[in-house]
C-alpha cells in the first residue's frame, strides 16, 4: 500500500503534466487503488471464511452449548433448554475437577519440561556434523510419525506390570525389588503417562530448536572461543540468548498442544486408575461421549479453551519477539 501511495503522490505533482490530464488521472488512479484494495480483500475472504466456518463456528457453538442442557435428544429435536451456569457449577463442583485440574497442570508442566530439555540437548548435539548425523536426526522424528493410537498400544505392552518389557528389564538388572505398576498404581500412572508424552514430544522440540540453532552464526562461537568461552559457557552466553525467541515459541506452543492431549491418555489408562490420570481434556471427552452430557462436556472444554487462550496470547507476544529477534 505504502508503495502505491508514494508513486501516486509523485505522479500528481509532476510539473510536466497538464492540469486537465491531472484532473482525469487522479480519479482513475483512485479507482485503480480501490480495485486493488478490493482484490486484496477478495484474497482475504477465503481465509476469513475458512476461519469463521471451521474455527469460529465450532467455538461459538461450544460456548453456547455450555449454557444448555444438551443431551442426545437435542441432536434430533434441536431443543436444548437454557440452564445458565448450571453446567459450569456441576463440572467445577464435581469431586474430580480439582484432581483433573492438578493432573492437567502436572501433566503439562512435566511433559514440557522433559520434552524441552531433552529436545534441546539433542538439537545442540546435532549441531555438529558427524557421519550418519542426518540419518539419525531423521530417525528421531519417528515418534512423531507413529499414530498415537499405535504408540499408546505399544507403550501399554511395554509398561505392563507382569509381562511388560520395562519390568522384565528392570527385574533382570535387579533394579527394583517388586514389579512397579506403571499404569496401575495411582502414584506412578501419571508419571508413566507423562514419560510417554515426553517421548512423543521430543521430535517437535528438537526440530524447532535445531532450526533455531542453525540461525546462530558460526563466527559468534569462534569469537567467543577466542575470548575463552567454549562448551557450557558458549552455550550459556552465545546459544541461549540468541535462541531465546525460538525457545519462547516452542514452550508456548508446547503448552497449548499438551494441555489438550487426549488420545495418549485414553490409550494408556483411560484416565484411571481411580482418576489418577484424569485431566480436564479426558474428563470433558468422557462427559460428552460416554455420559452423553454434551453441555457439561462443553463447559469443561471451554475452561480448557480459556486456559489455552491465555497461553496463545503469550505465544503471539513471543512470536513477535522471534520475528524481531
Amino acid at each position: 500500500m505504502a508503495d502505491t501511495h508514494g508513486r501516486g503522490g509523485v505522479t500528481t505533482y509532476r510539473p510536466s503534466n497538464g492540469a486537465a490530464r491531472a484532473a482525469t488521472s487522479v480519479p482513475a488512479r483512485w479507482s485503480a487503488r480501490r480495485r486493488e484494495r478490493l482484490l486484496q480483500l477478495a484474497f482475504l475472504v477465503p481465509a476469513v471464511a475458512y476461519l469463521l466456518a471451521f474455527f469460529g463456528y465450532p467455538v461459538a457453538q461450544n460456548v453456547v452449548m455450555a449454557f444448555q442442557h444438551y443431551t442426545t435428544a437435542t441432536f434430533y429435536t434441536g431443543e436444548a433448554p437454557w440452564i445458565g451456569l448450571d453446567n459450569y457449577a456441576a463440572v467445577v463442583g464435581s469431586a474430580v475437577f480439582s484432581k483433573a485440574l492438578l493432573n492437567t497442570a502436572l501433566f503439562t508442566l512435566g511433559s514440557i519440561a522433559g520434552q524441552f530439555v531433552i529436545g534441546l540437548a539433542i538439537a545442540v548435539f546435532f549441531r555438529r556434523q558427524f557421519p550418519l548425523s542426518r540419518v539419525l536426526r531423521s530417525l528421531l522424528l519417528l515418534p512423531w510419525l507413529v499414530p498415537l493410537i499405535v504408540s499408546g498400544a505399544v507403550w501399554r505392552w511395554i509398561l505392563d506390570q507382569d509381562n511388560g518389557v520395562l519390568n522384565r528389564f528392570l527385574g533382570a538388572l535387579h533394579l527394583v525389588a517388586d514389579r512397579p505398576g506403571w499404569l496401575t498404581s495411582t502414584s506412578l500412572a501419571l508419571i508413566a503417562v507423562i514419560a510417554v508424552n515426553i517421548w512423543i514430544g521430543i521430535p517437535f522440540n528438537m526440530t524447532i530448536l535445531y532450526g533455531g540453532l542453525q540461525d546462530i552464526p558460526e563466527e559468534l562461537y569462534e569469537a567467543a572461543a577466542m575470548d575463552g568461552a567454549t562448551g557450557w559457557r558458549a552455550f550459556r552466553y552465545v546459544t541461549w540468548p540468541l535462541l531465546r525467541p525460538v525457545v519462547n515459541v516452542v514452550l508456548v506452543l508446547g503448552v497449548v498442544y499438551t494441555i489438550k492431549v487426549l488420545d495418549i491418555i485414553l490409550g494408556l489408562t483411560g484416565g484411571g486408575p481411580a482418576n489418577a490420570t484424569q485431566t480436564i481434556a479426558t474428563q470433558s471427552y468422557q462427559l460428552s461421549f460416554q455420559q452423553f452430557d454434551f453441555g457439561q462436556g462443553a463447559a469443561l472444554g471451554n475452561i480448557l479453551i480459556v486456559i489455552s487462550l491465555v497461553f496463545a496470547l503469550f505465544y503471539l507476544r513471543a512470536s513477535r519477539g522471534a520475528v524481531r529477534g
Binding site: F54, Y57, P58, Q61, N62, T71, T72, A73, T74, F75, Y76, T77, G78, S94, A95, I149, G152, R156, D160, Q161, D162, N163, G181, L183, T184, S185, T186, K260, L262, D263, L266, G267, T269, G270, G271, G272, P273, A274, N275, A276, Y285, Q286, S288, F289, Q290, Q291, F292, D293
Partner: protein, 409 residues
C-alpha cells in the same frame, strides 16, 4: 457384551469436531411422510470384525431377498457408532435399519428418532424379560434383539486338575481356589476392571448377585461384592494389572497360561478354540453363598427402525428386523456367533444343539439389563461404579468409602 473390540481411545477430538460441524451443516432435512416402494434399504451396524461381519452380511442379504429389497450396509467401528447416529439424527439421514448396543437403546429412543416396533405390528412377546427391558423406553418397545450373551467363569481344566481344585461355585470357594491356583508367575484368576464401562460390566454379576443395586451404590451388598475383588487382588490371586486389562487382555492372559481362571464371555470361544493344548470349560459366575441366584448382565445388540419419514421404507425395514429375529435366524446366529437366542421358547432346542452354550443360556434366565432401572441415566451410574471399583482396588479407600464417594459424585 460391553462393546466388543471397542478401543475407547479410538474416539478422538476429531470425532467431536466432526460432530459439531455436521450439526451446523445439518440444516437441510427430509420432512413429510411419503410412502414409496423401496427397492433398497440402508442398514447401519458395528459388526466390523470377522466372523460377525460376514455372518450378518449373509443374513441381512437373505432377509433383503425375502422382502424384495437390496441391502446397502454400512459398518462403523463400535466406538464411533453413537457419534455417527447422533450426527445422522441431527441431519435426518438415519438409516432404515439401525443396530444399537442394548444399553444405548434408551438413550437413542429418548431422542425421538426411533419408531416403536408396535407401529409395524411387531412385538417382543416371548423374549426374555431382561432383553425386553433393555429395548423398552417409556413403556414402548423400540428394538428387537435376536441374540444376547453374558459372562461366566472360564477355567483351565489341566491346571485345576493338577492343583486338585474343583470349579468354584461360591465366593469363598473362588477365593480359596484362586489362592491355591496361584503359583510363580501364574495368577489364580483374571478379570477386567479398567476405567471404562467394560469394568462396570464385569463387576455387575458380583454386585447384582449379592443384592446390590445401581440406585444406591453405598450399600453393604455392593461393598461386599467389591470387597471380594479387593481380596482377590490384595492376596495376589489376581494381578494388579486387572485395572488396565480389557476383556481381550484377560483372554490373552488365560490363553498364555498366566491365569488359571477368568471372567469372560462366549464371544471368546472362537479365539480360544484356536489355542493349541488349551483345555478349558465354563461354569457360572460364583454366587455369594451356596444356593444364591446369580444375576448377570445382558449383552448383545438390538435392531431398531428409525423414523425416516417414509412409511413404505419403514414397513420394509420392520420386515428386515422381524426376519433377523425369526426363530431360525436366532438359532443360526446363536450357533455361528456363540450367542444365546433371546426367545425363551428356543432355549432347550438351542442347548441341545450347542451344549457348550448351556452355562450362558442358563445364566440368562435371571440376567438383567443394565439400563433396566435407570434408563438414560445408566451411563452416570456406570461411571460411578467403575470409579469406585478402581479406587478400592488401588487401595485409595475401603470399598465402603469408595462407593460412598462415588455415590455422592
Amino acid at each position: 457384551m460391553a462393546r466388543r473390540g471397542a478401543g475407547l481411545a479410538g474416539r478422538t477430538w476429531a470425532t467431536a469436531t466432526a460432530l459439531i460441524l455436521t450439526m451446523g451443516l445439518a440444516a437441510c432435512g427430509g420432512g413429510g411422510s411419503s410412502a414409496t416402494n423401496a427397492s433398497s434399504l440402508r442398514v447401519l451396524d458395528y459388526y466390523n470384525i470377522e466372523p460377525d461381519k460376514s455372518i450378518y452380511a449373509q443374513m441381512l442379504d437373505a432377509c433383503g431377498q425375502q422382502n424384495g429389497v437390496k441391502i446397502e450396509r454400512e459398518i462403523v467401528p463400535g466406538a464411533n457408532l453413537i457419534a455417527k447416529v447422533l450426527q445422522q439424527a441431527s441431519s435426518r439421514t438415519l438409516p432404515d435399519v439401525l443396530m444399537l448396543d442394548n444399553p444405548d437403546l434408551q438413550q437413542i429412543a429418548a431422542t425421538g428418532a426411533l419408531a416403536p416396533v408396535s407401529d409395524f405390528g411387531l412385538s417382543a412377546d416371548g423374549y426374555a424379560e431382561g432383553v425386553v427391558n433393555a429395548s423398552t423406553y417409556q413403556g414402548k418397545v423400540f428394538g428387537l434383539q435376536p441374540a444376547t450373551n453374558t459372562v461366566g467363569l472360564f477355567y483351565n481344566e489341566d491346571m485345576l486338575a493338577k492343583a486338585g481344585v474343583t470349579p468354584p461355585r461360591t465366593w469363598d470357594e473362588l477365593k480359596a481356589a484362586a489362592a491355591k491356583l496361584t503359583s510363580g508367575s501364574r495368577y489364580g484368576v483374571a478379570f477386567s476392571a479398567p476405567a471404562n464401562y467394560e469394568g462396570t460390566w464385569q463387576f455387575l454379576p458380583f454386585m447384582w448377585s449379592n443384592g446390590g443395586d445401581e440406585k444406591n451404590l453405598a450399600s453393604p451388598e455392593v461393598a461386599q461384592a467389591l470387597q471380594l475383588w479387593v481380596d482377590l487382588v490384595k492376596s495376589g490371586s489376581a494381578s494388579k494389572s486387572v485395572l488396565n486389562w480389557t476383556q481381550a487382555d484377560v483372554r490373552e492372559q488365560f490363553q498364555a497360561g498366566n491365569a488359571a481362571m477368568m471372567v469372560n464371555g462366549p464371544w471368546q470361544f472362537p479365539v480360544l478354540a484356536k489355542t493349541a493344548n488349551l483345555k478349558y470349560a465354563v461354569v457360572p459366575i460364583p454366587a455369594p453363598r451356596a444356593g444364591a441366584t446369580v444375576v448377570a448382565p445382558l449383552g448383545g445388540e438390538t435392531w431398531t427402525i428409525p423414523r425416516t419419514g417414509d412409511a413404505g421404507r419403514q414397513a420394509k425395514a420392520a420386515k428386515i428386523v422381524e426376519c433377523l429375529n425369526s426363530d431360525a435366524n436366532q438359532l443360526s446366529l446363536g450357533k455361528k456367533r456363540t450367542t444365546v437366542p433371546t426367545k425363551t421358547a428356543l432355549r432347550e432346542r438351542f442347548v441341545a444343539e450347542v451344549p457348550e452354550m448351556k452355562v450362558f443360556t442358563d445364566a440368562l434366565q435371571t440376567a438383567r439389563a443394565r439400563t433396566g432401572e435407570l434408563g438414560a441415566d445408566w451411563p452416570k451410574a456406570a461411571t460411578k461404579i467403575y470409579t469406585a471399583v478402581q479406587t478400592a482396588l488401588t487401595g485409595g479407600a475401603t470399598p465402603e468409602q469408595a462407593l460412598r464417594q462415588a455415590q455422592n459424585g
